[in-house]
């Protein structure tokens, strides 16, 4: 019997930004499998030219509402690299702590609001308010915690205010930190409850594996989001951040004309699962326990497990956040105001966004005016890998109903937690 599978998802829902899925197969022969991105490009690299060094992180923060702290830090680190600006140990610790707030907020939003509906067979979190009120309340509390975290340390929930080259424009009070530590401790039972809840429906996560190169920051002895070099599961030798352009290797694909990234293979993946695969041995005890609950181990190459890795990281940032606050309070917070004298130079910065490694680089003239910028965004780096996953997955599931295939592909896109409005380099294509 002749069977045509024709799937066209216009604007995948419950992801940040716009993406389309197109699949067509006739009698088991695949004619086309495509992951497309019709997002309106915004041209940030062009827009920052002519702007002052001290305004750059304010502008590029607006690349993405969900990763605004990460974008600010990538810019701040690149500016510091370009101008030879030193930062204190206190600043470095506070930055790591601040950055954790965004991981918490983004992971809670993604796992709780965007992915959970798939695992429970509904269209959004709205019906879950009635059917699973306790789980929804837990997600809300954790999401709010992430927001409070950024508010206390970065001055605001979205688009941070106090993150500057050289340090912070405002420090939290010691009392504030002491009280916030209690909030973090109180969040542990919520994280455990969320893990139990996801575990109870984890059999809905498809079992699909494709050997993949994973890329993330690596820093000796740390499960790092902020410091370190560029590591890959395909090499023992990490690369300095300044050489990021030779890692991302952006190229125009002959079959899709979209810019893709590749290092050792024809595609690579970034994000929570990449960080886990490179750094899992440095997770703290509670986070390690949650990974074990799900049977998540180093070397996992099931992209759907990225959601589980995010859950593990949500635990890790709370656990390590508590330690960092202790260290900061023991040392005592010293008032510091960044003093920067701009100078000419080029610099690069890399930071782990919740959805993967992010690279910024800028060139400044002697007056500190930005002359050139290059930004490579995590979702951009995952693009080729999503396409490769599609190509491996579709033949395996072609005998299922169109609805099933569609759902599995949408879930795959969602698993990468794409942040498409971030993607400064996405080519904007609508295949018809």
């Amino acid at each position: 019997m002749s069977r045509t599978v024709d799937i066209s998802v216009h604007h995948v829902t419950r992801v940040e930004g716009h993406g389309n899925i197109r699949v067509r197969a006739v009698d088991g022969t695949i004619e086309r499998i495509e992951w497309q991105v019709p997002e309106a490009p915004r041209f940030f690299e062009a827009m920052v030219r002519g702007q002052k060094w001290e305004d750059i992180q304010t502008i590029v923060s607006r690349i993405c509402g969900i990763c605004s702290v990460t974008h600010s830090f990538a810019a701040v680190k690149a500016i510091e690299d370009a101008m030879g600006i030193e930062t204190s140990e206190q600043t470095e610790k506070l930055r790591v702590l601040t950055h954790y707030g965004e991981q918490m907020e983004s992971h809670a939003l993604h796992v709780g609001y965007l992915v959970a509906p798939d695992l429970l067979g509904v269209n959004s979190v709205v019906p879950l308010v009635e059917t699973h009120p306790e789980a929804v309340k837990t997600v809300i509390r954790l999401h709010r915690l992430g927001n409070r975290w950024m508010e206390i340390l970065a001055g605001r929930r979205t688009h941070p205010v106090s993150l500057r080259p050289g340090g912070f424009s405002m420090l939290p009070g010691e009392k504030q930190l002491r009280e916030f530590k209690k909030e973090l401790e109180a969040a542990v039972p919520d994280l455990q409850a969320l893990a139990e809840f996801v575990l109870s429906v984890a059999d809905r996560l498809p079992k699909f594996e494709r050997p993949t190169e994973y890329i993330a920051l690596v820093d000796p002895g740390q499960y790092t989001f902020y410091h370190g070099l560029i590591g890959s599961t395909d090499t023992e030798k990490p690369k300095p951040v300044r050489e990021f352009e030779s890692v991302v290797n952006e190229f125009v694909s002959p079959q899709s004309t979209a810019k893709w990234c590749k290092w050792h293979r024809d595609a690579y993946a970034v994000g929570a699962l990449a960080r886990f695969n490179l750094n899992a041995e440095h997770l703290l005890p509670l986070a390690t326990t949650v990974a074990k609950q799900f049977g998540l181990e180093k070397g996992c190459c099931n992209p759907y497990m990225n959601n589980v890795a995010q859950l593990v990281e949500a635990v890790q940032v709370v656990e390590h956040g508590i330690q960092l606050i202790d260290e900061l309070l023991t040392a005592g917070l010293k008032p510091e105001r960044p003093k920067v004298k701009p100078r000419a130079g080029w610099g690069a910065g890399a930071v782990e966004a919740p959805r993967g490694i992010l690279f910024h680089s800028y060139e400044f003239d002697a007056a500190g005016i930005c002359r050139r910028a290059n930004l490579t965004i995590p979702t951009n780096q995952n693009h080729a890998n999503i396409q490769k996953d599609f190509e491996a997955l579709v033949p395996q599931i072609l005998d299922r109903s169109e609805d099933d295939i569609r759902l599995m592909l949408e879930m795959l896109v969602r698993a990468y937690d794409p942040c498409i409005s971030c993607s400064t380099h996405y080519l904007d294509i609508e295949f018809v």
Binding site: E16, A40, P41, V126, R157, T158, S421
Partner: protein
Amino acid sequence: MSKPTVAIFDFACCEGCQLQIVNLEEELLDLISVVQPVEWREAMSDKADGDFDIAIVEGSITRPEDEDRVREIRKRCKILIALGACATFGGVNKLKNKFTMDDVRKCVYGDAADMPHLSTAPTKSVCEVVQVDYRVEGCPIDAGEFTYIVRCLAMGTDPVIPSYPVCVECKLRENVCRFEYGELCLGPVTRAGCNACCPSAGAWCFGCRGFVDDPNVNAAKDVLEKYGLTIEDLNSRMELFNYGQEPAENVKNG
């Protein structure tokens, strides 16, 4: 009475203003009890059929096809709310308009710049393309102000948005003036309503809520002069979120 239907759409933006709606947390559940969301791509898989009562639109218009799309949305709704700086006056997206479109395409895409799907037009706000009934200012919006405006709408009253500058709120929070730190702050000419959140976190005001109505130019000039700064300095920083805005001229000529 049936609940008014609401659809949320986005154009070129960071989706940070929608995120503020998500950030309402439990309050969002209260909101859903008085309005019926029928389409919200970022949070729901449902898509609206036909018309709806309220459209909330985030982002700027940067391509001709997006102009058509926002006009279509306008036709389908009774009330249109522009959400955030990108939608109300263009925000950072307007920095693109400082350059030719050829130049920005080449800068970002290099050799691939001439591909037809990369065409881009100068940024317009939603307000410049269709008639907008309510504006929620800011980058990002203030979640409290958003719920206030929705509440007013539900009660059939007109929201009152501050028509005084950020300095007023900043003084109430007893902050030391940013000019005292040798910084150029946009508080004197920017519309309040954010509770001076940036000066309160140790930074200057970035002007993300746009010019206040009839900015008090003489007062702004006095402040600038006192600290050895000029209106040109102020306009150059105001460019970040307000490139090409008319009131800049008013300040210059005042």
